[in-house]
Amino acid sequence: MATSSTHEITQLLVAWSAGDQVALEKLTPLVYQELRRLAKRYMARENAGHILQPTALVNEAYLRLIEQKQVRWQNRAHFFGISAQLMRRILVDMARASRQTKRGGAARQAPFDEALVISDAPGEDLVALDEALQTLAAMDARKSRVVELRFFGGLSVEETAEVLHISPETVMREWKLAKVWLHRELSKEKSD
């Protein structure tokens, strides 16, 4: 069931894809709002002692967010491509802002760092990931796009294949190697 806010998000997404830049400014706080709601629910479930199934939870939220079944996007590929870019942009910006707040708030080396729930597993630092993806794009744009669509866009292998007009097998191949490359890049950054 679409709430008015998800409906609005969809409309803005449509406008943004049609070139309305103002739509992005309006869109960002709405995505944040959705994220807040999701984070709250995420924490509530954790506190209730349930086993988390974040994957299902988040996929559902993402689907609601873009309401893709409601709007008849005839060019699904185009829409998926744009949604993935949008999510990347907004989430990376958010992570960057969060990072700065934390640095400003605790300039000293903080103890307990390994115990952070915000894991420092490669890939979970969205800012570093974004930067690595840019590097990857300069040398292999398609792999970078595959990661953007799969990870930020939440697309299945088949959907990614549709967007990029390549076979699902190629997507899998590209995805695997892109991850290996990213893992190495991000591990490098951490240990250097």
Partner: protein, 999 residues
């Protein structure tokens, strides 16, 4: 890394994976043939292969939600909990948030751990926990962080403990081996703390580097004694085998499980010997910088902990003494009985080892405990200096690092946006000093030339004509700008760079470009029948460039100067041949075709590059940049050219990955920066209120199709209530046939195919709106070739009318018994005839078809019956943009021209009273480039079959930012008494600057 180098790495990586692990090394040695950096690159990727498997597999929203949840917790900062004031957040763990706080009673800084609400809800569990924490708080030892208070305030349970300023052992290790002396020092202090705890019956249970602080004096403090037990409350049984794990949530379990003893990991009862095992893991990690066991998931890790022996530390740290290896191994024993039985025994062995280390070799340097502590301080100081140096290097890389990164690393290309207006800002051109960009903008309604400082600041309006001024190009000496203007019949003009007297140099032409020496101007027209000229600044009669050579072109995509000023690049398709790039001497002489290296050619095919619209040479003559489409996405690409042979030796490399169409670009004089337009195009069918008898548009209208697809041929029912249309999808091969009611907006997908873009063509309603006829062509599924079909609206079975030819249906007879079509049956491949198919002879109506008229040389399209059925209007198309509309009697006979053939006229339609013929027309010679279509009408006398009076204009499209979709041959127009349906393209876009494009 350059893309081509990367391709090489990629190939070897895959080839290695296809081989058995034990054969990879030999294979790579042979394949790399001494290229060590290649070998290292492939090896390091292979090393990361298994670890990368789980990466990025959880949805980004989950990670974002976690970050967000963390931010939310920050909101406690500045608030009070009992007598504690929360100052900042130090971290968060499975047991809650940890804050730096101020104890206002004792005026001291503490670390405050706030427990998750879940623990408060289970009283029994909470009681046990507090009991343990209280016991731990009784510990008073120099190497244990003291617990001050276990309390509750405002409904939150918290633990206040000693605040240790310094770094965690995890941060100290940070993936690197420590010196053995330091390891033994740290290990002894931890053992000392554990010995004290164990003697009081307290087990830590969560010994790991993150729980060990090293304060600023190099002293070790162990945190969180006794608190670990709370973890067990969250344990979940794994179905079936009775094995339990700590929380299955990723991020928590992986942080702790690696340090667990086998009995702890199995969820069995543990005693103090579990801490000995965990300390062993930490010793190993300090010595090697890595964990003894690592796996990609918790069950794999569990298996290793239970069964595997870690690799010898000496493999990763040659300085690790054999005695140290023995000590650590003894901690690692799977059975608690085989380990050190008390931490004291371990402590004794560590002390003994330390004595041997500070024996004869080290005594001169370090004496006793004092020396050891001093060494810690020195070590810490060195670490800090190293950290500062690292920071400086990152911020100000010395030139040798920079040089290396230029050859080894892919270029980082910062992207910056220059214009932010709504509407369309495009066609950037650089001032020679790269301080300004001139461009065309419709921010004042129509297009004018503007100049904007790169450093920011307001744009300066250079031209002010009420007609469009665009296509600016900045002169190499920086003083002037040449541009095309539509004023005064259209032509090329020159204006001082920041505004002033504007003078006309030519009365025709488009896309003017200064020669590198600033003495000549290149201009012309691309597309079909291209012409390229070179002119002078004072407007002397221009010389045509390579006219004979160009006359052979089926399509010229782009023309642009070579940096030597003697040659011009011509990029397009010669007849029959595939596209090529040619370097043509300006003064005549044989143009030279650029050959492509096989790899470059392969890349072009792989990316399916098509639709080049503009090109530029790098000033160095080593690269060509162009705007081209790959799978529906228009971006700027680059190829590397051998300047001697003009052979394309590397690339193409995609430089921009925008969400819009990246086009209309220019390079800065140093070749380093690229300014380009990011265009966003929306193509939708619009319904405009219309008075067909009077020939007047009566309002703004509204879009009736969605964004994200291109409405193809649109056909309106005679009553104007419904449309049928085909839809195309950029970047996809999908083809669709839709029906939509314009009364209530309901729509229905009648048919779809995914293999072939133009499976459905030219839908056409019967006069009563009861059937739709269309062409169906699906080479994959249709053995009989193309067909013409009919289908009831709303869906239902299709009926074959005829097959075997690519006939396009455009109308029905009023009685619904015949369909009118254009056919290539008489001249295969050329739609040279109009014909009628009787539906009574379906599915083989071709056997009884009736020819109406034919053209000897050209093609006929868009035939429609007049409302009274006496006349047919149609189009004769001579070439891409050269078409004339005629009328003839419905049974065939003499053709009467309605338009004069001087413009590109298309899509003729009858008004419902049969007294006007409407059509779209683009009256500029350079239609493909600057022309804008409008709907025109011409009165017609049905009694005599002749036009009356002059054509008159109906619509008023003036600007490329909102216009009738110019690929008119692909799309349709619908017309009824009160409605006009048109495909309208709206374009917006801004100018962006990309740096380092020459790297």
């Amino acid at each position: 890394m350059y893309p081509e180098r990367w391709k090489q790495v990629e190939r070897l990586y895959y080839s290695s994976l296809e081989r058995e692990e034990d054969q990879r090394a030999a294979f790579l040695t042979a394949a790399c043939a001494g290229d060590d950096s290649l070998r290292r690159e492939v090896d390091s990727l292979l090393a990361h292969q298994s670890q990368a498997r789980d990466m990025l597999e959880s949805p980004v929203m989950e990670i974002a939600a976690k970050i967000y949840a963390g931010d939310q917790a920050d909101s406690l900062i500045g608030r009070s909990l009992g007598s504690y004031e929360l100052l900042s957040r130090l971290g968060a763990g499975g047991m809650g948030e940890v804050y730096q706080a101020r104890d206002t009673r004792l005026d001291r800084t503490v670390a405050l751990k706030i427990l998750p609400a879940v623990f408060a809800t289970d009283e029994e569990r909470m009681r046990r926990f507090i009991c343990e924490a209280k016991a731990a708080s009784a510990l008073n030892h120099p190497h244990v962080a003291t617990i001050y208070e276990i309390g509750e305030a405002g409904g939150r349970n918290f633990i206040a403990m000693e605040y240790v300023e310094g770094q965690t052992l995890a941060a100290r290790i940070n993936g690197h081996p420590l010196e053995v002396g330091e390891i033994v020092g740290i290990g002894s202090q931890i053992a000392d703390a554990l010995d004290e705890a164990h003697s009081k019956g307290i087990i830590h249970r969560d010994i790991k580097p993150a729980n060990v602080m090293i304060n600023l004096r190099g002293q070790v403090k162990v945190l969180d004694f006794g608190l670990a037990k709370i973890h067990r409350s969250a344990e979940q049984p794994i179905a079936g085998n009775g094995v339990t794990l700590a929380k299955t949530e990723p991020g928590v379990v992986m942080g702790t499980l690696p340090y667990m003893s086998p009995e702890q990991a199995l969820g069995r009862e543990v005693d103090h010997r579990t801490d000995i095992f965990s300390l062993g893991v930490m010793l190993y990690q300090m010595a090697t910088g890595r964990l003894p066991w690592s796996a990609t998931n918790s069950s794999g890790l569990l298996d290793l902990i239970l069964h595997a022996q870690p690799e010898a530390m000496a493999r990763f740290n040659h300085d690790a003494p054999a005695e140290f290896e023995r000590i650590v191994r003894k901690c690692f024993e799977k059975e608690p009985e085989a380990r050190y039985q008390t931490i004291k025994e371990l402590l004794e062995d560590l002390e003994a080892l330390r004595s041997s280390l500070v024996g004869p070799r080290a005594t001169a340097k370090n004496g006793g405990i004092g020396g050891r502590i001093k060494r810690h301080q020195i070590g810490l100081a060195l670490a800090m200096i190293a950290l500062i140096l690292t920071t400086i290097i990152v911020a100000y890389p010395p030139s040798w690092i920079h040089r290396r990164s230029q050859t080894a690393q892919p270029a980082i290309r910062p992207l910056k946006r220059l214009t932010f207006d709504p509407g369309l800002q495009s066609e950037p051109t650089w001032s020679p000093n790269s301080d300004f960009i001139a461009y065309s903008s419709d921010r004042n309604g129509n297009f004018d030339i503007w100049v904007q400082p790169i450093s920011g600041g307001d744009p300066i309006q250079v031209t002010h004509s009420p007609e469009h001024d665009w296509q600016p190009d900045w002169s190499p000496d920086g003083s002037q700008i040449v541009f095309r203007s539509e004023r005064d019949g259209g032509g090329l003009f020159i204006v001082p760079a920041f505004g002033g007297h504007e003078r006309k140099i030519y009365a025709f032409g488009a896309y003017p470009r200064w020669s590198p020496d600033g003495a000549k101007i290149l201009f012309g027209v691309t597309g079909f029948q291209p012409k390229v000229y070179v002119g002078t600044l004072d407007g002397q009669s221009p010389r045509e460039v390579q006219p004979e050579f160009l006359s052979d072109f089926a399509n010229l995509y782009a023309f642009f100067w070579h940096p030597d000023g003697q040659q011009v690049s011509l990029y397009g398709e010669k007849r029959i041949e595939e596209w090529s790039h040619w370097l043509a001497p300006l003064t005549g002489g044989q143009p030279k075709k650029s050959e492509l290296d096989p790899e470059v050619e392969k890349q072009f095919r792989e990316h399916q590059l098509e639709g080049v619209t503009s090109g530029r040479w790098a000033p160095s003559g080593r690269n060509i940049y162009f705007s081209t489409v790959s799978l529906g996405l228009r971006d700027i690409w680059k190829v590397t050219v051998d300047p001697q042979t003009s052979r394309w030796v590397a690339g193409p490399e995609r430089l921009t990955v925008g969400l819009g169409s990246d086009t209309d670009f220019a390079l800065s004089a140093d070749g380093n920066r690229l300014a380009f337009t990011m265009r966003v195009e929306t193509i939708r069918a619009w319904s405009l209120p219309f008075d067909a008898d009077a020939g007047r548009i009566k309002g703004q209208g509204q879009p009736i199709t969605s964004t994200g697809m291109i409405p193809g041929e649109i056909n309106l029912t005679p009553d104007g209530k419904k449309i049928a249309y085909t839809a195309y999808h950029p970047g996809s091969r999908k083809s669709e046939l839709w029906e939509k009611s314009l009364d209530d907006g309901r729509e229905k997908l009648l048919a779809t195919r995914t293999q072939y873009t133009r499976t459905f063509c030219t839908p056409s309603w019967s006069r009563d709106g009861a059937r739709i006829a269309y062409q169906f062509c699906d080479p994959d599924t249709q053995k009989n070739g193309p067909q013409i079909l009919t289908k009831p609206p709303g869906g239902g079975d299709e009926q074959i009318i005829a097959s075997g030819a690519y006939d396009l249906i455009t109308d029905w007879t009023a009685d619904g018994k015949w369909v009118l079509a254009t056919t290539d049956r008489k001249s295969p491949g050329r739609y040279g005839s109009l014909c009628l198919y009787p539906l009574s002879a379906a599915p083989h109506a071709e056997t009884q078809m009736r020819m109406i008229t034919s053209s000897q040389k050209y093609q006929l399209f868009q035939a429609r019956f007049s409302p009274d059925g006496r006349w047919i209007c149609f189009l004769e198309l001579k070439s891409g943009a050269d078409a004339t509309i005629y009328v003839m009697p419905a049974s065939g006979g003499e053709w009467t021209p309605i338009t004069d053939g001087q413009s590109w006229d298309d899509k003729p339609h009858w008004s419902p009273d049969g007294k006007t013929i409407y059509f779209v027309s683009c009256h500029t010679r350079f239609s493909r480039q600057t022309g804008i279509f409008n709907v025109w009408g011409r009165r017609f006398d049905p009694a005599i079959g002749k036009p009356v009076g002059e054509p008159f204009r109906v619509t008023s499209f003036e600007s490329p930012s909102r216009m009738i979709y110019p690929n008119t041959d692909l799309v349709g127009v619908g017309l009824a008494a009160d409605r006009l349906v048109l495909p309208i393209m709206e374009v917006s876009g801004g100018i962006w600057i990309l740096e380092n494009v020459d790297r």
